[in-house]
Symmetry: C2
Subunit: 358 residues, 2 copies
């Protein structure tokens, strides 16, 4: 039970994506525009016809999506930043619950992913494996008995699988142990990245941990190994939190209290500050410093206060300053009436008591 | 009426101090220890016997005060930092309401001041003038018909008077006009300094404005001139506030809201941050963004959260970290239950409304 709770507190989401290509067809990066269009026209209806896509949310050619809608999909982790830059000849198909999305003609002909909240890598692998198997009955994949699935980038050859989890690690960051952990995880052949994948910053103390290698190991083994390491990271994060609460309680209560105070009253806030303060509130919920506050409310704000989501709620084009104003207003409104954080007090005799403020 | 209100909002306090020395007695800086002790023994009972000192708060030789008590008096603006460093042969006499204090053997034999909240320079001058006149019937001052009262430092020769007011000028600081104002005031022969006088920082956006010159001008003229300039500064400050509310309302509501949010929930805070945030809350009270909050509560916290005042409330010696914790706790407790700031909202049609949040 403890592990299950910890996983859901610390692991924001689990994702598995598979890279697949059609036999005898040039990879998208080498293909002519007409070839890419032909591939898209062929694959899009096949993807739509899979069981997962019975209830469709989006099925579009990339030139049929505006810049804002593309950015929205990036912020929801449904397409890559690279794919958002694509136009004619590329497409995306997403199911209604947004748990499965398939990019057509990104770097590979097919990039399909399943994503779910919490730690459930086997489950999401099962979901995307089913989509993959359905498609494999209808098209012939580029596959080499020696190397496995062939992909545009050699780092994906083999299983074509990248399994990853988003971990919320404020304890390790505040404890200044995060770099040590990242180095250790790297040595185990796993990658640690920021919020939007390779080369991005770990905004809001969220880190993506994923497998590096796709060759010479079965998918289930890779996932099992990743799972094991994630459980170790969770344990380190839990220990860091316990240690901080024990040794620097004022610092923790200060960070959580300030986050609640600022988010509840600011009138202008950029995206980075919002994510970092929401991260501190999420930590506050986990540590029961913010009792009665729903973690899902914070996770929702994490998404809805990002630039494209904000722009979507406005009528005219927002300037950066107007976005900051709107972001602060949305957060302020959402947090209105939520309970104040518990207070930590040190008596003058040095005794400690955690006192609720309600 | 408007001016009266503005004065009390913006002028924190008014002070007049007089420097006096005994005829035929070396100034404290040149005197032998025995001379200084003789002067102290002679003056202390005379000062105590003045009408203002009928109800005494403190009458001490400086070696009879601990470092903490000295620092407390500095934080209350009752003695100078320099005087706090003195020991045997120097003393201080303070009345019960702490509106009048007399330092004996600071730089001069007598440094007497009257201080009152708000703008009332004539009044405080009247108070200290009376103390001065009483003493003058009992001792002979060093006085030259040509130069006036003689003092240790030539900058005080003449009237020996320094009249000053503490001004809270957050509008001019946020509007980035403060340096311009300081330069203009300097050109008028007045000095602008920080919270603790010469060479100190303007913490909490509080500036001290005082006369520079003590020669060739009657006391009443100096005070009248200072008064006039202070009214001009008040007008500039009021204009800056109106302009900020008009052009950058989100910035103002953001600053006030954040100050309220942080002060109400932080668990660790240094003195500088506390003063700057309290300054923003004071601005919020003035602008009615914080309706129903008592300005005196904030002014009280401004004093009681300073290091020596904090130490005084604790039993053991506090480390800087413990002081920061206690400071945050005192402020949090004081602000508990105070109303939330009003909110500023811009409708999506661009219309503005100031909406109360209670």
């Amino acid at each position: 039970m403890k592990t299950e709770n910890s996983s859901n507190r610390i692991v924001v989401s689990s994702r598995v994506r598979l890279a697949r290509n059609l036999r005898g067809t040039p990879f998208p990066g080498w293909a002519k525009k007409a070839d890419r269009q032909r591939v898209l026209e062929m694959l899009q209806p096949l993807v739509e016809s899979t069981g997962e896509m019975k209830e469709l949310s989006v099925s579009k050619s990339m030139d049929g999506l505006g810049a804002l809608d593309k950015q929205l999909l990036v912020e929801r982790h449904l397409i890559s930043r690279e794919h958002a830059a694509k136009n004619v000849g590329s497409g995306v198909v997403i199911n209604q619950s947004e748990s499965v999305s398939v990019m057509i003609n990104e770097e590979d002909h097919l990039r399909m992913q399943a994503i779910r909240p919490g730690l459930q890598l086997q489950k999401v692998h099962g979901i995307i494996d089913k989509v993959d198997s359905e498609l494999e009955t209808k098209v012939e994949y580029a596959f080499s008995p020696k190397h496995g699935y062939l992909t545009a980038c050699p780092t994906n050859v083999g299983t074509g699988m990248r399994a990853s989890a988003m971990l919320h690690l404020p304890g390790l960051v505040l404890h200044e142990q995060i770099n040590q952990i990242i180095q250790a995880v790297n040595k185990l052949g796993l990658a640690v990245r920021g919020l939007y994948g390779e080369g991005t910053e770990a905004l809001g103390n969220v880190f993506q941990v994923s497998n590096q290698s796709t060759l010479g190991e079965k998918e289930s083994n890779v996932i099992e190994r990743l799972n094991k390491v994630i459980h170790q990271i969770i344990e380190h994060e839990e220990n860091a939190r316990v240690s901080l609460l024990d040794k620097k309680p004022h610092m923790i209560y200060d960070q959580v209290g300030r986050a609640h105070g600022i988010l509840g009253s600011a009138h202008s806030m950029n995206s980075k500050e919002a994510m970092n303060l929401l991260s501190m509130m999420r930590l506050g919920v986990d540590l029961e410093i913010l009792p009665g506050l729903d973690r899902a409310l914070l996770d929702g704000l994490f998404i809805t206060t990002q630039p494209a989501h904000l722009q979507k709620t406005a009528t005219g084009k927002l300037s950066a300053e107007e976005r900051d104003t709107l972001r602060a207003e949305i957060i302020r409104t959402a947090l209105k009436g939520t309970p104040r954080p518990r207070e930590f007090k040190t008596g003058q005799d040095g005794s400690k008591e955690g006192k609720s403020n309600e």
